[in-house]
């Protein structure tokens, strides 16, 4: 065996080492996406926090917690149904996994509809991106940006749930793909846990 062959073998051996942290590549990619997305949301929330603290006439337009409590309950429950879907997929129960994924998607749709209803109610009260009847116009900009970014994630998640669910049922995807999608869905839920106190509960009118 020549020196060149040995070098080539050495290179191949180096390239066939298992994936980083011994987890599947798709899962690692999703985790890296989640970390990057965490930075996006953190940047928005931290900027919002500084704006809120630095602005004297910050509005407190929320009178009731019913809607946001219901939205929180729905999103948390959707995380549980996603987990049940994953367990069904791992157990080889294709019909069960598909059913639970579709239930998760349905809960996501209900969440999005409640969110849009809330937006429309606020717009009806005169709140727009850069003006509102209660105080600084920055409130509308930050509120719509943060909740809009989250709503975009929920909507994308619902579309992904339906697409992956159908492909899983058709045999093109497997339980690992459901797990990767589940990571995204739980992340959307996790972000909401920070959006609720910072954007809604700190702005309740007592």
């Amino acid at each position: 065996m020549s020196q060149a062959d040995l070098t080539m073998e050495g290179h191949s051996a180096g390239l066939t080492v298992g994936p980083a942290f011994s987890i599947p590549t798709k899962k690692l990619a999703m985790w890296l996406f989640i970390i990057a997305d965490t930075m996006t949301f953190a940047a928005c929330l931290v900027a919002y926090g500084f704006l809120r603290n630095g602005t004297p006439n910050w509005p407190r337009p929320f009178h009731s917690i019913t809607n946001v409590a219901l939205m929180t309950f729905i999103l948390l429950t959707s995380s549980l149904t996603m987990l049940i879907g994953l367990r069904s997929a791992r157990a080889g129960d294709k019909a069960g996994a598909f059913r639970w994924i579709m239930i998760t998607a349905a809960l996501g749709i209900v969440f999005a509809l409640l969110h849009i209803r809330e937006w429309l109610a606020l717009i009806d009260e005169g709140m727009l991106m850069f003006k509102n009847p209660w105080g600084t116009g920055l409130f509308g900009a930050s509120f719509f940006s943060i909740t809009g970014l989250h709503l975009t994630h929920v909507t994308s998640g619902v579309i992904a749930l339906i697409a992956v669910g159908i492909r899983y049922k058709g045999g093109r995807y497997n339980a690992d793909d459901i797990e990767v999608l589940g990571l995204y869905w739980h992340f959307v839920d996790l972000v909401w846990m920070f959006v609720v106190p910072l954007v809604y509960l700190l702005n309740l009118s007592h």
Partner: protein
């Protein structure tokens, strides 16, 4: 996927009972945030308490719903250290921007 694989997954991640317990804990913690919102305390205290509860919630969701607890410890450490260091860096950056903003246009005028 065989039942054996499902059993192995259950063994690794703790089964549906554990998921339900975490779900109930998350609901309770979310409820606690709503209780804090109605406490008669100043905004900074309220902010600190709510953020602390949100961090516990996020930790539970990451460790058990996203199964980070059952991954390799090196990966868990990577995610935690990387995320926390970038968030702290961002906090430093934003604080500095705010310091410059306070003495400058447009919000101070």
């Amino acid at each position: 996927m065989t039942t054996t694989t499902a059993d192995a997954h259950d063994k690794k991640t703790g089964g549906i009972g554990k998921d339900l317990i975490v779900y109930v804990c998350l609901l309770a913690l979310a409820g606690l945030q709503f209780v804090i919102a109605y406490q008669n305390i100043d905004a900074s205290q309220m902010f600190t308490r709510m953020l602390a509860v949100a961090c516990v919630e996020a930790g539970l969701a990451e460790l058990f719903f996203m199964h980070l607890w059952s991954e390799k410890r090196a990966f868990l450490l990577f995610v935690v250290i990387f995320t926390v260091s970038v968030l702290l860096g961002m906090q430093y950056g934003w604080t500095d921007s705010f310091r410059m903003l306070v003495g400058a246009a447009p919000f101070s005028k």
